[in-house]
Structures are given as C-alpha cells and as structure tokens.
Subunit: 188 residues, 2 copies
C-alpha cells in the first residue's frame, strides 16, 4: 500500500502493520491527466479515490451551463461522489482532476465489504463522513451568512493553497460568484 494511505490509516485508527498489508491489494494506483474526468454527471459512481498527489474537484453544471464546485480533494484526502456510491443512483456531480494526479482507487463493492468486515475501515469511513459533516456545516453557515468578499476571505483562511494551485475560474465556481466578480474582489 502506498505510504501516504498507510499514514492516513495510522493517524485515524489503531491498525496493525500486517493488516495494512492485507488491505493493500484492494487499492489500485491510477495516473490521471490534468482535466481528466473520473466520473461524469449522470453516471453511477463505482469507485472511491484516495489522492496521493494532485487534486480532484467535485462539481455540477446547472441548466444555464454554469459550473458549481462543491469540494476540492487535495493529496492525502479521499474524494468521490459518496451520494452516488451510497445510493447507487446516477451522480448529480462530476469528478475531475485539476492537476496531473496520482490516485488509489478502490471499488465500491470492495470498499463497503471492508467497511462491514474490517473495524479499521469502518472507523475510516465514519471519520470521512464526520469530517464531511463538519466541513459542510461550516460551509453552509459561512456562505449563507456573508457576501462574496466574506466568502473569499473565509476560503483564504480555510484553504489558502487553493489560491496558489487553482485557476480563478475554478475558485469562482466554488465561491458561487462569476469570474468577473472574483477578479474585482481580488483587486482589494
């Protein structure tokens, strides 16, 4: 198993080294080009991805063609459309690589099998869901409560690396403003 994923497990569970090696074969390394899609809107999501290097984003395109980004998964994070993975329904969001990336993929079947069978994976899954809950709760309050400058400052504080690695267009689609507005805000 890739060292980065071992680290992820060790930091969150009491897992034995042998157990880590047992889990290893479930995860397959995959190289992803910049802008490549791992999932298209409308497809059923079949994999969970752990980002070793690079960055993925989850986004959806509305009826007017405007992109809407919900989440960035940088190195050391899991990223997938859990909603589609859990329900088995077609995803309402796409997964795209924003940089040349290396990910470890595990199939939906294997993942949920391990969640049931391996206490460490059960714990990891709980941990992912808890983190997602916390992140989203904060996002809802911070976004609904403030104007676009406020949201920009919030993102600068929470995820500064976004600004050095991603395009303004992408950041705008996360903040829920047009690239015009973002450009003007940054001039302050």
């Amino acid at each position: 198993m890739h060292e980065a994923l071992k680290k992820y497990f060790r930091e969150r569970t009491e897992i034995q080294e042998e157990k880590l090696d047992e889990l290893s074969p479930y995860f397959k390394e995959k190289l992803v080009k910049k802008n490549e899609f791992l999932l298209r809107e409308g497809e059923v999501c079949k994999f969970n991805y752990f980002v070793v290097s690079g960055c993925l984003r989850l986004f959806s395109v509305n009826t007017e063609g405007v992109e809407n980004t919900r989440y960035f998964a940088f190195e050391g994070k899991f990223g997938t459309s859990f909603t589609s993975l859990i329900t088995g329904e077609p995803a309402i969001e796409a997964i795209q690589s924003l940089e040349k990336s290396t990910v470890l993929s595990i199939s939906k079947t294997d993942f949920f099998y391990l969640v049931e069978q391996e206490p460490a994976v059960n714990k990891i899954y709980r941990n992912i869901l808890e983190s997602a809950y916390i992140t989203t709760q904060k996002r809802i309050y911070d976004f609904q409560g403030s104007d676009s400058l406020g949201r920009l400052k919030w993102l600068l504080e929470q995820q500064p690396m976004v600004f050095s690695r991603l395009s303004n267009k992408t950041i705008a689609s996360y903040l829920g403003v047009t690239p015009y507005t973002l450009s003007r805000l940054k001039a302050q």
Copy 2:
C-alpha cells in the same frame, strides 16, 4: 423505548427486540416548550435528540444579527449539533424547538459508547451521517445554482410540510432571503 424510535431502528438495522429493550434506558423522554432552546450557540453540545413529535431547528446568528437556519428535524429524525458533539468544541449553532415537542435525549458519552459497542447503533450513526451527507450535497448544489425563487420551489418539493407548520420568518432564514423577499415570492 418509545415506539417511534424502535421503528427507526427496525427500518435501518437487523436488530433483535431484546436488544431494543436493552438500549431503552439510555434514552430519556423530555418535553420541550415552543421556542425553548436545547443548546445555545457557544455551549458544548452534550446530547443527541430523537424527535418523537414536534420540530427542532439548527441555526446560527451572524455578526449583523441575521439568523441562518441549516436544518429542520421533524418527528422521526435525530437532531443535534454533531459538529460540537464530535469535536467537543463549543457549537457554532443553536438548537431550538419550533413547536411544542417531545424528544428522547441520549448523552454524548452513552451515544458514542453504544456506537463502539453495539453494531446496531454503529449502523444507525453511519446512516445518520450518510443521510446528512446526501441532504447537504443536494442542498449545496441547489442553493448555489439557483436564485431565490428556484430555492423556494426546491424547498416546496423537498419539504412541503415546512410551509404548513413553520413561520415565514423561519423559512426565510432557511432559504437565505429576507422575509420581505419571501413574502413577495409567495405572491407569485
């Protein structure tokens, strides 16, 4: 244990009837007046609540004094500030009853003890987190993608009972619009 909570467990797990009776003493019935607070912003959350009848809301007040509602827990749902419950940090949201309600409360300590010890409770917790994930993902896309009329229609579709049971002021604080705007939108 209250019949409504038994039903909740039966619908989501393979639990034995004797096990339900074993879990019963952990849940204490509590009557809550309309507008009563179960948690104030800034307090550490110590309980998880299952709503037997009535309705709770989770909300926060921003620096300008504007209320911001994130979630309504109607009968048959768990409602608490999981973020504070999980992290042990002071809550950034308050829990308030919107109607005369009956809830079953379980302490944080007991709850997480059961999550570790009882597979059924582990499953229930996972289920709560998964549902929260799915609901919030949809909410983020639907809110960020559309204008206030679109959000109103979305809420009408997703949770119509909100409109018959809650005040316009409360609904406006959920939709992220002023009560003026909501009043005008409804005139269409």
